[in-house]
């Protein structure tokens, strides 16, 4: 009797080259006999297939999912977004779906996890809408290991520097003192560059309890570490460093009746000032005394002076160092009144003064609560659209209705940066306003914008029918 493996060997070699093994029935040509036997055995093998034994245990059972699925139309939208590569709408969809408290149906999870593998910025949003099932599934695939959030305390000791820093940030959010103590334990063994980067993690949940350690760091052999420590201490209003700076700043800028501003920049940069973080060498094009003045002021709470000092400062000789210092200080000490007043002054200033860039717009905007920020940008848009658009580019959260309407009132599309921001953040409720203007004025870009907004509005309706 001929067996399959003999048959296979003969078929590979060819019956014209090797003889077929003998069998009981040797009638017919070798080709005919081979094919006859193959026909018989092929059907027999097909019918007789038995499952191979399986080793191991089946996958663990996924815990129940408490959250409901997104509505079917929203799921269909997500499927489209995932299949269209580089979708611009995906981040927004993830935000909206996450806010709705619903999760995606399980059949979309593999595509979703795969899509955010290359997009670390979207991972938190994807994991939120992935729900319990998403995390369970990701745990089964090493490619999706990001889902278990590689920020546990064990990651502080191993891996690349950025992961270690991220782990320390995470520890600081959970338990600030434990995070700092953990860092202190390892401090001696770390090279200077690592110490500087890891020390920056103390910015998360920075508190007066961190001051003794930071004061010690002011004597660190590495200049980068000293700079980070001085910067952090200058963010603690009660710290000894800020008290020292206050003592230096008080005689430098005096506000009298009127108000009248008397400015006396430091004549020298003392070793004590340098130890507290003041950089002695100025930026190109900046006078030494102006540079030192600005750096002292940026390390003092701006509320040391009245808001009314801004006007005379703008008009005076030392406007750049003063306003730059106050801007940085408003951000450092999270002072919304000063941030708003400085931004107002900036938007109202003439173009030549704005050009001098004494305000870090995006840092100051982030100090303001969202309603205050949006009201400020609305005023700016109505007063001077080009200035308003510059601010708009920095409004990173979704825009409120009032802000969106203010944008629709000006000539949208004239400023490319604001237009890009509008695509993603403008409230889609203004789509009809824009479409009407597009029709009236024959502006194609407005019509396009209106259709993008309609799609975004549709996404919202699908998620909250």
């Amino acid at each position: 009797v001929i067996v399959w493996t003999d048959l296979l060997a003969a078929a590979i070699a060819g019956t014209g080259h090797v003889p077929l093994p003998a069998s009981g029935d040797d009638a017919g040509s070798p080709e005919q006999r081979l094919l006859d036997a193959a026909a018989r055995l092929a059907v027999r093998r097909l019918a007789g297939w038995r499952p191979p034994p399986v080793a191991g245990s089946p996958p663990p059972l996924c815990p129940p999912e408490p959250a409901p699925h997104v509505p079917p139309a929203a799921a269909a939208r997500l499927a489209d977004l995932l299949r269209a590569r580089h979708s611009e709408r995906l981040p927004e969809w993830l935000d909206l779906a996450g806010a709705s408290g619903r999760v995606v149906p399980p059949e979309l999870l593999p595509e979703l996890l795969e899509a955010v593998r290359a997009r670390p910025d979207l991972r938190p949003g994807a994991l939120r809408v992935g729900g319990v099932r998403g995390r369970w599934l990701a745990a089964a695939n090493p490619d999706w290991a990001f889902a278990d959030g590689a920020t546990g305390p064990q990651h502080l000791d191993e891996g690349e520097l950025p992961q270690r820093a991220a782990a320390l940030h995470a520890m600081r959010s959970a338990d600030p003192d434990a995070g700092r103590e953990r860092l202190e334990e390892r401090w001696a063994g770390e090279p200077g560059r690592h110490r500087a980067l890891l020390l920056q993690a103390l910015r998360t949940s920075l508190a007066p309890a961190d001051e003794p350690f930071l004061e010690r760091c002011l004597a660190d052999p590495a200049s980068q570490v000293r700079a980070v420590a001085a910067d952090l201490l200058a963010r603690l209003p009660e710290s000894a460093l800020v008290a020292r700076m206050l003592a230096r700043a008080a005689p430098l800028v005096v506000v009298g009746e009127g108000p009248v501003l008397t400015v006396a920049p430091p004549a020298t940069c003392t070793p004590e000032m340098i130890a507290d973080g003041v950089e002695p060498e100025p930026l190109a094009g900046v006078g030494r005394r102006a540079w030192w003045l600005s750096q002292v002021i940026e390390r003092v709470p701006p509320s040391t002076w009245p808001l009314a000092a801004i006007g005379p400062a703008l008009a005076g000789d030392w406007s750049w160092p003063l306003l730059r210092g106050w801007s940085l200080a408003a951000e450092r000490f999270r002072d919304p009144d000063w941030a708003e007043a400085l931004l107002e002054a900036w938007t109202a200033a003439d173009a030549r003064q704005r050009w001098r860039r004494w305000v870090d717009i995006h840092l100051l905007l982030r100090v303001l609560p969202v309603p205050v920020r949006e009201a400020l940008v609305v005023r700016a848009l109505d007063r001077a659209p080009d200035v308003g658009c510059e601010l708009l580019g920095w409004c990173r959260e979704p825009w409120g209705l009032e802000l969106s309407r203010a944008y629709a009132r000006i000539a949208p599309g004239s400023d490319p940066g604001a237009l890009m921001a509008a695509y993603h953040r403008c409230d889609p409720a203004v789509a009809d306003d824009l479409a009407a203007r597009a029709e009236a004025e024959g502006v194609t870009v407005l019509a396009e914008l209106a259709s993008v907004f309609r799609e975004r509005a549709e996404m919202r309706r699908e998620l909250n029918p």
Binding site: G14, T15, G16, P30, A73, R77, P465
Partner: protein, 441 residues
């Protein structure tokens, strides 16, 4: 029947139609809207002066629209049905307008006619078709002679030669079989042509396929001595298809609640071939519906049966020992699939497959429905479906992660096609929903 968004979108002829349809699925786009028990209709303002009038017969669904689009269903029809799927409560109930009434009535009449056999002169029809059939069998006979010599040449030269053969070695033989009106053999040759570029154990598969093709050739030689059912199966395998009309007139019928559990579209020789698998809820009987359309034809394939739905109806089965292929003879409106039916264990499913083989050694892609399996990884990185008895069947890997996601580690129902080595999963049933697997729509 209330259609789900997924189901409606699956009816779209292409992705852009689906997108356009979704854009029209808002109340603001429609000047008027209405619904009855069997239909939904509306007027949509398009680029023309008159609004387009779209109507959907909800029982199938079937579509009608006054727009000039050649896509079917058009974006208005899709948009209307999507809108209805999303906001049925916002569509006022009423009697269908006159322009829809006639069409609905016509459809109802046709449905009755379709169930009855066609009225033609039977004697003349039989005579003409007998003459044609004779001519065709003669041509097939010539083709079979050629393929038999070709097979012998291949075996004499050995498989070692095959990877170096040019594409035309297979393609020429396949084209010859198409000419000889044996498209079933042409299909087998084209499937075999790609084997040497697949896994390293391809000679094993090649020998099995050659053996079965040889078996078909030998069966043809002995056609007259075969039992009638097997004879018809051999002819079907060669590619001689019974006309659907005679199947409707004479085929054996089976009434059941038919579940639409699988759909696959493959390209064969410039044709898109759609396989739709049904499963009888009461009988546990699988059935296969085939439909063809030329690749250049937009739409073209019958999409009226939607995956994940069920209908009460009667199928007429083609003659042949497998008793798988069928046409729909009569059907009521579709409804969501109420339950999944399948074999409780792999042993039972393999038993059913062996039973199929005992009726015909040419099983084609065979249906396999497993009612409780857990997807898991195999040691070599592939995927398995594991049943309650810890027996496991390997699957085509593409849908592995989706199956695992849908199951959450718990047993689910899976329907797929079994080729004797691997199961190609087409759908998964979990949480009362049927999820489509794989990439073909």
């Amino acid at each position: 029947m209330r259609w789900t968004v997924d189901q409606v979108l699956s009816l779209a002829p292409n992705a852009s139609a689906a997108k356009a349809g979704r854009g029209l699925a808002t109340l603001g786009k429609w000047a008027s809207l209405g619904q009855s028990d069997v239909a939904v209709w509306g007027e949509c303002q398009g680029s023309a002066a008159e609004p387009y009038r779209a109507g959907v017969d909800l029982t199938e669904p079937a579509f009608r629209c006054s727009c000039p689009s050649r896509q079917f269903p058009c974006k208005h029809s899709l948009g209307l049905l999507l809108l209805f799927a999303l906001h049925a409560e916002a569509v006022p109930a009423g009697a269908p307008p006159a322009w829809l009434e006639d069409w609905l009535a016509g459809r109802a009449q046709r449905a009755v006619r379709a169930a009855a056999p066609p009225a033609t002169d039977p004697a003349r029809l039989q005579e003409a078709s007998a003459r044609r059939a004779e001519q065709r069998l003669a041509r097939i006979g010539e083709g079979i002679d050629e393929i038999e010599r070709w097979l012998a040449d291949l075996v004499r030269a050995g498989f070692r030669e095959l990877p170096a053969r040019p594409v035309r070695y297979w393609e020429h033989a396949a084209a010859r079989m198409v000419d000889a009106q044996a498209p079933g053999i042409a299909r087998q040759l084209r499937e075999m042509a790609v084997l040497p570029y697949g896994s390293t154990d391809w000679p094993d598969r090649m020998l099995a396929r050659l053996g079965r093709l040889h078996l078909l050739v030998q069966a043809w030689r002995r056609l007259d001595s075969l039992p009638p059912e097997l004879r018809q199966q051999v002819l079907a395998e060669i590619g001689v298809a019974e006309p659907a009309e005679s199947v409707l007139a004479e085929g054996r019928r089976q009434a059941d609640d038919w579940l639409v559990v699988g759909r696959l579209v493959a390209i064969e020789d410039r044709l898109r071939v759609q396989r739709t698998w049904l499963y009888g809820l009461e009988s546990g009987r699988p059935a296969l519906l085939l439909d063809h359309a030329h690749v250049s034809q937009v739409g073209g394939l019958d999409r009226s049966l939607v995956l994940g739905t069920a209908f009460r109806g009667e199928l007429a089965f083609y003659p042949g020992a497998l008793r798988l292929r069928a046409v729909v003879a009569a059907r009521d409106g579709a409804r969501p699939m109420p339950a999944f039916r399948g074999d409780p264990s792999l042993a039972a499913a393999l038993g059913a497959f062996a039973d199929l083989l005992s009726r015909s050694p040419f099983p084609g892609p065979a249906p396999m429905a497993l009612s409780a399996v857990v997807p898991c990884r195999s040691d070599d990185g592939g995927w398995l479906l594991r049943d309650v008895e810890s027996a496991a069947v390997p699957i085509v890997p593409g849908a592995g992660w989706t199956l695992l996601a849908v199951s959450g580690g718990a047993p689910i129902g899976v329907f797929g096609e079994w080729d004797g080595e691997r199961l190609d999963p087409l759908s998964g049933w979990a949480g009362g929903r049927l999820v489509r697997l794989g990439t073909t729509a």
